[in-house]
Symmetry: C2
Subunit: 147 residues, 2 copies
């Protein structure tokens, strides 16, 4: 098990993709009028590409056009105080080709938010990193608390 400098387990590229493939929700991180912005979205992992569907003309669509964005998914267990997080960084691209839209529309990507979401944004996972809080730790659970 490889650990980073802060004691978190470093996930392999394969583990990162496997976790992303099973997650129903992630967060797209971008810049909106020079300020950092973040928005949870349903997504589908299509090979190594993150597919998001949104409403036409959304703030998200405008802000991510041709921008490099981060995309994060995670899952934490409050009782066990463990969990994982995967972040992909890559260029966002709005899909305009009708044939590609038809293909993406057939993916098993359901959005929980209401409204018709026929606009697709794809993010290529160019950089990928993942961490897991080790479940078995050499330090007791409360060790993070300053004595």
């Amino acid at each position: 098990m490889k650990l980073d400098s802060s004691g978190l387990q470093v996930l392999s590229r394969e583990e990162c993709f496997a976790l992303l493939a099973a997650a129903p929700i992630g967060r797209i991180v971008f810049t909106d009028r020079a300020l950092p912005a973040v928005q949870p979205v349903n997504f589908h992992l299509d090979g190594q590409t993150i597919v998001i569907r949104t409403v036409t003309g959304s703030k998200l669509a405008a802000a991510t056009r041709h921008a490099v964005v981060a995309f994060e998914a995670d899952e934490f267990d409050t009782e066990l105080r463990t969990g994982w997080s995967v972040t992909a960084v890559g260029k966002a691209r709005e899909v305009t080709d009708p044939a590609e839209i038809d293909r993406l529309a057939a993916l098993p990507l359901t959005t929980w938010a209401p409204g018709r979401r026929d606009h697709f944004i794809v993010v290529a996972a160019e950089q990928l990193s993942g961490r897991r809080i080790p479940a078995e730790r050499s330090t007791p659970a409360g060790a993070g608390v300053r004595a």
Copy 2:
């Protein structure tokens, strides 16, 4: 119930703070070497300020110094396809005053990640926004799927 243009329920400032106060984990969103970055962290809401503890010399501490950051917390129910998200935007400040460090160290802020985390970053929630996916919807659950 106030809805935004995409049909999500707009949460009041009071609701946002109440949800943040009960959440054990959030995500700090910042810029790291000109790229968007995001990192999950344990936090404590101290009045209207988000308190994060990290390791001295961390990438997070360096990248957020005097920077405007976003901080997001959320909770989703996969079965009910509902959930909420709250985002605060404000300036991050590293705490260097020993008296303030002592006060923050006494807060009920436990970190799940291993290692000694004695460095504090605080984010004033200058801008606050929250959304909830309405539990009862006028559209059926699958309506987001393109026909």
